[in-house]
Amino acid sequence: MQSINLHVILCAINDFYFELAWIMDSLPQPVLQMHNISKSFGATVALSNVSMSLYPGEVHALVGENGAGKSTLIKIMTGIYQPDSGDIIINGNPTRLHSSAQAQAHGIAAIYQEPLVFPDLNIAENIFISHRRRGFLVNWGKMYRDAKKVLKRLDVDLDVRAQARGLPLAAQQTVEIAKAISMDVRVLIMDEPTASLSAHEVTQLFKIVRNLRAEGVAVLFISHRLEEVFEIADRITIFRDGELISSRPTHEVTREDAIRDMVGRPMGKVFQRQPSEVENVVLSVRDLSHRGKFEGISFDLHAGEVLGFAGLIGSGRTDIALATFGIEPAHDGQIYFDNKPVNIQSPRQAIKMRIAYLPEDRRQHGLVLPMSIAANITLPIMQDYANALGIVQNEKERQTAQDYREKLSIRTPSIDLPVRKLSGGNQQKVVLSKWLNTVPRVLILDEPTRGIDVGAKEEVHRLIDQLAKQGIAIMLISSDLPEVLAMSDRIVVIREGRQMGIFDRATADQEQIMGAAMGQLEMERDHA
């Protein structure tokens, strides 16, 4: 209650200054102001009472863990979502944004990690495709000249007549930026633009960003790489759990402050797992590499152990899992199973070796949504449920499903219900049942608790603990740092496809792991 009062007061003060600035017209006026924005999805609060301002000629960095509410804020700024309460103030005028076209008309544009270009059109066309009022005919000569001008403003050399197909990601991003500034952008939102760029390309991008800043564009820069944030930003705002934690000029913030603000979550909420007895090595990986995704990955996985994989989204953890499961086999390196070298080329082979993989995207890769719970659970080993004629024995299948429904307490009126109708947590339990039913020796869990409610989350945690006790070797990939810390015996930290070290749970803490994942602290490699 008190904090809300405080907030109200703060906002009032904020308002006051805002009015003052307007009247006096001497302070720089913010081009975009988010005022007390709140947004929830059902019971989950994505943003609560967030206020921030973007000034022209400023690079404003937005930092936070995954799920801190950054994406929601961006989507509100670009008109994709509407806030539940609060105002969007553009150039001092409260405005409602109902579509991204409207946001564009107000000079707000966004660039995403995956650029959305038209592969068959050339660069000049891609830049001008959304322009209205270009008349009926295309004046190619003028378009090429204008495109060249725009690219020149960005100080990049790209052939404006080249097709966008086949351009490297960095160039596609440049095209998106050019598209934005050709539309007279005043607020440019960049959502993790550097996530898939090389160091050289990042330098190029920063050059462009600085040019834009010099031209008076307000840039909202979102990145998981702290060193970049400190390099480019004038102001750093940190989000955690849908709230604005701090917003300070860059020179007033240290890296340690930033990391603490990002992870400062009470640890007590998470189920604490007791370290388990380590048995023999089941799976070991040596120097595994996949061009462009990861390289030099080596670890041992023991029976009864939970090996956590920490890192940022897109750091290559899922790719390592996909390589181990045979969906995208690695190019280089060796996997040993029971100390014998194996070559896993397909999921089928992996399943035969009793490796199971719970995928990150359960709706796309884990489930067949319109089919029943029972059918989903028996899918990978369907042949065991068919008799000599290939006829499926429904009784046996239903029995299995019934067993798992009780064992994992899947809450459903019937096991014949299509999984589409279950809640996220129960869907995840169905996927888990499906893989447990193959009696795995190695279980790879990729973000097992993403998007499921707190109760179900704890059940999944207890289940992981039980499974480890039964002697299953578990790889746990999670972007939820407290979860990884609480559940794992050891933690592999991956950053940009490289292994930053293996940490023992006894010695690791959140700041250390986060630092390694963001490339802040160079830790000694601790090969267990």
């Binding site: 999805f41 999921p347 709706r363 489930l367 949504l369 319109p370 899918l379 004629l389 996220g424």
Partner: protein
């Protein structure tokens, strides 16, 4: 609305089809006194039996998320190969095997391009539609070949009179044998796994299936006193087999799973490519067989044999409740829609309606069978919740949508 809630099967597409079928039969009866004639009822099947054969596999193809536009051309090709070989003086037996080999080759080609080179089946089979027909033209040019031996044509033309008691006897026998085999294989597995064996009762779905099948059979038998061509009996057996494969075997399950979510199937370790290949080969083989049946029925073959049959075949499958996007639909629906289409065609021909006009009615049916479910979806979205009678689903789906946005 209450009624719909209490009996969910009332909302099924199959129920609607059954009503349409009854309406079609009723209209046919009231419009033409010839409809009830024995010969006419046999004709309903007789004149389209080849299409009916291909429909059975086309349903599998579309449920699997693909399409095969080349079936009519494969039918034409196999008939032409048969005619060409026969014309050259080969024995009919070897001509038949060459025709089937031609079908196999077409199926392997389609399957290879679709499953292993990942080219959309629409494109592959459109090219096949032109190319296989072209191959038939190369063989027969503009000749017409006929005079097949009598045993061959009689297979398609002569009625096999089976008295109702005999037929019922055979039917009951088949069901008994089937049940015994099924129970025996279960028994063997039970013994292997050391589990207790017990007799399995058919579930509610099974009961509905048996009732519908029995109803259809009685309808046909009662009206025709058992006078069908041999091909019709072959069809009945193949229908039951394909129904069994799709609805009760693990292969059928794979077809649905891949049609619903190909990536998910791959992540679960299913052999997606092999399944797709198998289905395209099955489709072409069935089309080749149907081409032979066509040759036997018509008696002389030109290169344009069976041209345009894909329209009827695809219409029947889509009208049967199979989604063009794959993943849904049942053999019961396909069987019912087959009867609907055949009855419509029969009724129209009794009224001396031109063949092209009949085709255009089928074309309209094709479009409507996709358009109406689309509309129904749109309307349901805008209806107030209390009216839609599906509160639970809607609620959970909204929640799901929220969750997916959270994670995004």
């Amino acid at each position: 609305m209450k009624l719909l809630e209490r009996y969910p099967w009332l909302r099924r597409w199959e129920t609607l089809l059954f009503v349409i079928l009854c309406a079609a039969v009723f209209i046919n009866i009231s419009l033409s006194e010839h409809y009830f004639n024995i010969d006419n009822l046999a004709n309903i099947f007789h004149l389209s039996i080849e299409k009916a054969f291909v429909v059975l596999v086309m349903a599998l193809v579309i449920i699997n998320g693909e399409i095969d536009l080349s079936v009519a051309s494969v039918m034409g090709l196999s008939a032409s190969v048969l005619a060409y070989e026969f014309e050259k003086g080969a024995s009919l037996e070897s001509a038949i095997s060459y025709a089937m080999l031609a079908g196999l080759a077409c199926g392997l080609a389609n399957g290879f391009f679709v499953a292993y080179l990942n080219i959309p089946s629409l494109v592959v089979t459109l090219a096949g539609l032109i190319a296989y027909r072209g191959a038939a033209r190369i063989l027969l040019e503009d000749r017409s070949v006929g005079n097949f031996p009598e045993w061959f044509t009689s297979f398609a033309l002569d009625d096999v009179y089976v008295s109702i008691p005999t037929l019922l006897f055979v039917l009951v026998g088949l069901i008994l044998i089937g049940t015994l085999v099924y129970q025996f294989t279960n028994l063997r597995q039970a013994v292997e796994e050391g589990a207790a064996f017990r007799f399995r009762k058919p579930g509610p779905v099974g009961l509905v299936l048996i009732t519908v099948l029995a109803a259809v059979l009685v309808y046909m038998l009662a009206l025709s006193s058992g006078a069908f061509e041999a091909t019709t009996y072959v069809f009945a057996v193949l229908y039951l087999i394909s129904l069994g494969i799709l609805q009760f075997t693990n292969f059928g399950r794979y077809i649905y799973v891949i049609g619903n979510n190909r990536a998910g199937a791959e992540y679960a370790g299913l052999r997606v490519k092999q399944v797709k290949m198998t289905i395209f080969v099955m489709s072409a083989l069935m089309a080749a067989f149907a081409g032979l049946m066509y040759a036997a029925r018509v008696g002389n073959i030109r290169a344009n044999a069976a041209e345009g049959f894909e329209l009827d075949i695809i219409t029947i499958v889509l009208l049967g409740g199979v989604s063009i996007f794959g993943g849904t639909g049942t053999m019961v629906g396909v069987g019912l829609s087959l009867l609907v289409v055949l009855n419509l065609r029969n009724g129209m021909s009794l009224r001396n309606i031109n063949d092209n006009t009949r085709a255009s009615v089928i074309g309209a049916l094709l479009i409507l069978s996709v358009l109406i479910p689309n509309w129904a979806q749109t309307i349901q979205r805008f209806l107030p919740r209390t009216l839609s009678g599906d509160n639970l689903t809607l609620d959970l789906e909204n929640k799901e949508a929220r969750e997916s946005t959270e994670t995004a």
